[in-house]
């Protein structure tokens, strides 16, 4: 399974958030740092 490499460009993605607003990782480029969190299910 592919993994993200340290010190490499993080793969970009675009998906709607749960409110339906499209979020792209590249939206934050040049503006903010991003902590991307993949967690266990909520249940």
């Amino acid at each position: 399974m592919p993994r993200v490499s340290l010190d490499a460009i993080a793969p970009d993605f675009s998906l709607p958030d749960f409110n339906g607003d499209l979020v792209s990782l590249s939206d934050f480029r040049g503006r903010k740092n991003v902590l991307l969190v993949f967690n266990r299910t909520f249940a």
Binding site: V4, L15, F18, N33, V34, L35, V37, F38, R40
Partner: protein, 111 residues
């Protein structure tokens, strides 16, 4: 998730946006975000597109998924990558915040 919420202002202070990606649908996200008063971005990924892109381990036997965190700087570079080996294997916020300080001191946003 509650820990991230409690320390959220410290992430904001460091110009870090928290983006949570999970396989639940939008309704489940919405319900959970309201119940827990979560301030950050929540992205439903029911087709596992982003989860696969980032290689989150899917453990079919445990019917669960291992947590993962990636800290990405303003240039889009992954500066910290943590793939958990168990459900409890999540980096401490302090560790991530210290790294954010390091990133910020070496890389200022363009004015």
């Amino acid at each position: 998730m509650a820990q991230l919420r409690d320390d959220y202002s410290q992430f904001v202070d460091r110009d870090v946006e928290v983006v949570v990606v999970g396989p639940e649908d939008a309704a489940a996200f919405s319900k959970y975000w309201k119940a827990e008063s979560l301030p950050f971005v929540g992205i439903p990924d029911p087709t596992y597109g982003v989860l696969k892109l980032y290689g989150q381990e899917i453990n079919l036997f445990k019917l669960g998924r291992m947590p993962a965190q990636v800290l990405i700087d303003r240039a889009g570079v992954a500066r910290f990558v943590h793939y958990g080996h168990s459900m409890q294997d999540i980096p401490k916020n302090d560790e991530v915040l210290a790294l954010a300080d390091e990133i910020n001191s070496s890389q200022r946003p363009s004015a």
